[in-house]
């Protein structure tokens, strides 16, 4: 086990820089998820930690040792690929034992460690099968088995669940988390799925266009996103972001582009008339009261909750309610945003204001 430090790492292809000085400190035993839209550089960063991609500048340290110029085989890492990358000509047991064989471990030790990993992952009946004879979920498990057999310093996961169907994904999510709690190996996990990130991570690093937008625990990111990007990326359905201006005469409030007043508890000094973005999560609306009248366009009842797609002036919003709602499309529904849970962002910089 070891810590991983990424210090001001840059990556350029020719003259085009795709990673612009990323620094991330990962503590020993931490489960860190790199999340972001496709093309944000999260996979490239993971591959640079693995040594599959050279870094242009900066330092990567695994357990205090700078590994910039070490080939992957000397970094003592294990990686699970999106496509699993199981060796098709080797059996499950051979796949899992391959790394140990490459390290010239004694045969008996390889066998016992493969067996132990197979027991953890419920793969014992499949040890002599070939990857093509396994289902998607089983292949995924073998890929994880190949990683845990070796007891490496760091696990690297590159979107390991994205080839599985929804049900299996939820199940494997829990299994990976359980595995981490059991083995406590430092883990770096890449995904584009923010739900995966929220449910599994000790700490999430949100990346966008080759920089780190914000890093913190899942609930920190959910409760206090630093900027509009993180606000819109974390949470499902996504946070409502309404355009307008801050109004400060007397009580602070927010006026949308259509002139509709929305409540605020406070706003920064001297920000009267400042163009801003009003962020409110769909679940932070209440029905009735001193409410904004929202024109309902679509209702989506799921049983446990109801999603309301509506319009405030010309801007679209989404609300999620525990109650059952029987409004008709076109009807005005009183929806009250909770002023204590409002996120205010600067329109120009996208940074948080409150």
């Amino acid at each position: 086990m070891a810590s991983v430090d990424v210090v001001d790492v840059r990556k350029a292809y020719g003259s085009q820089e795709v990673i612009h000085g990323v620094s991330i400190g990962i503590k020993d035993g931490e489960f860190v998820i790199l999340v972001g839209p496709s093309g944000c550089g999260k996979s490239t960063l993971l591959r640079m930690i693995a040594g599959l991609e050279p870094i242009t500048s900066g330092d990567i340290r695994i357990g205090e040792k700078v590994v910039n110029d070490l080939p992957p085989k000397d970094r003592d890492i294990a990686m699970v690929f999106q496509s699993y990358a199981l060796y098709p000509h080797k059996t499950v047991a051979e796949n899992m034992g391959f790394a140990l064989k490459m390290r010239h471990a004694p045969k008996a030790e390889i066998e016992s460690r493969v067996r132990r990993a197979a027991e953890i992952l419920d793969l014992v009946p499949y040890l002599s099968r070939y990857p093509r004879q396994l289902s998607g979920g089983q292949r995924q498990r073998v890929a994880m088995g190949r990683a845990i057999v070796r007891d490496p310093k760091v696990f690297l996961f590159d979107e390991p669940l994205s080839n599985l169907d929804a049900k299996l994904r939820v199940q494997m999510r829990a299994e990976i988390k359980e595995l981490h709690q059991r083995l406590k190996t430092t883990t770096v996990y890449v995904t584009h799925d923010q739900v995966e990130a929220m449910t599994m991570a000790d700490r999430i690093v949100v990346m966008h266009d080759g920089i780190v937008e914000q890093s913190g625990s899942p609930l920190e990111l959910y409760d206090r996103p630093n900027n509009i990007f993180v606000a819109g990326f974390i949470g499902s359905p996504a946070m409502n972001l309404l355009k307008g201006k801050i109004k400060l005469n007397g009580k602070a409030s927010f006026v949308t582009e259509d002139g509709i007043d929305l409540p605020l508890t406070s706003a920064p000094q001297g920000s009267d008339g400042r163009p801003a973005i009003y962020g409110i999560r769909p679940e932070h609306f209440a029905l009735g009261g001193e409410a904004v009248k929202a024109e309902v366009s679509v209702l989506e009842p799921t049983g446990s909750e109801t999603q309301v797609f509506a319009k405030v002036g010309a801007q679209k919003i989404v609300g999620v309610f525990r109650e059952r709602i029987s409004a008709k499309p076109g009807e005005a529904l009183p929806m009250a945003p909770d002023p204590k849970l409002v996120h205010l962002f600067d329109k120009e910089t996208g940074l948080r204001l409150n």
């Binding site: 080939p71 085989k73 990358a85 490459m102």
Partner: protein, 292 residues
């Protein structure tokens, strides 16, 4: 489709297949039976043994391979065996060399980006293949001069080298296709698992690409086995191969069909064996992608 329609289609399909089988196999049948004919039977076009001609060992006797001559000393047989050995060594040697060199070249073209002047990977691949466009006769004189200078004339090594050159473009093309179907993650996984670049190639890539390699090897053997032009040009007494010997049967006393047929039968026998037993490897290697 009704039953009668289905049967009609079947009959037509199988009829066409039977006709094509006949067209394909008849030359082999004719060669084989002719090796047991006498002059009269050849000129009169007799086809079916024991029905319109009585088989005779004459053709095989002239090679020293008939039952009554097999135990005796025969210079023709020695000559034949020497040519046969030359063909085997030249074909297998060239095919093996071409598969080794061609696989390495193809792997490079499949996995790394090259810049050679204005040429990129695609252009380099096409350059290799374009070598097949040039008719060998253009190279006749240069090769003759070159081989004379290098003292490679009439040597098996010389033949192996020129045959390797001849089949290399095809091998590179086949192997590049093979390597392209292997996901690069497999090698990356191997690198993470503790392999060097060469280790990943030899332990992971080569075993997966093996069907393609076998196919390329067999195809190369067949092409080299059939090769006549360079063998006739570059060899004389020592390294002469079977095709040259077959062609030389058209002597001044007319064509001795029976001995030529016997010789041809012996020459195509290895190819028939390859065709019957290894055909499925060729098909598998050339069609199936290695990994899903």
């Amino acid at each position: 489709m009704s039953d009668t329609q289905r049967i009609t289609v079947r009959v037509l399909v199988y009829g066409a297949l039977i006709i094509w089988t006949f067209v394909s196999l008849f030359p082999i049948y004719w060669t084989l039976t002719t090796s047991f004919k006498t002059a009269v039977n050849v000129t009169q076009g007799h086809l079916i043994p024991w029905v319109d001609f009585i088989p005779d060992w004459r053709g095989w006797r002239s090679l020293g391979l008939s039952p009554d001559t097999i135990g005796q000393v025969s210079t023709v047989r020695e000559e034949f065996l020497k040519r046969f050995a030359n063909s085997v060594i030249a074909s297998l040697g060239a095919a093996a060399l071409a598969v080794v060199i061609g696989s390495l070249a193809a792997y490079g073209l499949s996995r790394f980006d090259y810049k050679f002047g204005w040429m990129r990977n695609k252009d380099i691949s096409f350059f290799f293949l374009s070598q097949l466009i040039l008719p060998p006769v253009v190279l006749a004189m240069p090769f003759l001069v070159l081989y004379k200078e290098l003292a490679l004339l009439d040597t098996r090594i010389g033949l192996i080298l020129v045959y390797t050159l001849m089949v290399l473009p095809i091998v590179i093309w086949i192997m590049r296709d093979q390597f392209d179907t292997i996901p690069i993650e497999l090698e990356q996984a191997a690198l993470v698992d503790g392999c060097s670049v060469w280790g990943a190639f030899l332990r992971i890539v080569v075993p997966i690409a093996l069907p393609g390699m076998v196919a390329a090897f067999i195809l190369s053997v067949i092409l080299c086995w059939n090769e006549y032009f360079f063998a006739a040009l570059l060899t004389s007494t020592n390294a002469k191969t079977l095709p040259v010997m077959v062609a030389s049967q058209t002597g001044s006393q007319g064509i001795s069909w029976w001995s030529m047929a016997a010789l041809s039968t012996a020459a195509i026998a290895p190819l028939v064996v390859i065709g019957v037993f290894l055909e499925r490897y060729i098909v598998k290697g050339l069609t199936a992608g290695a990994v899903k």
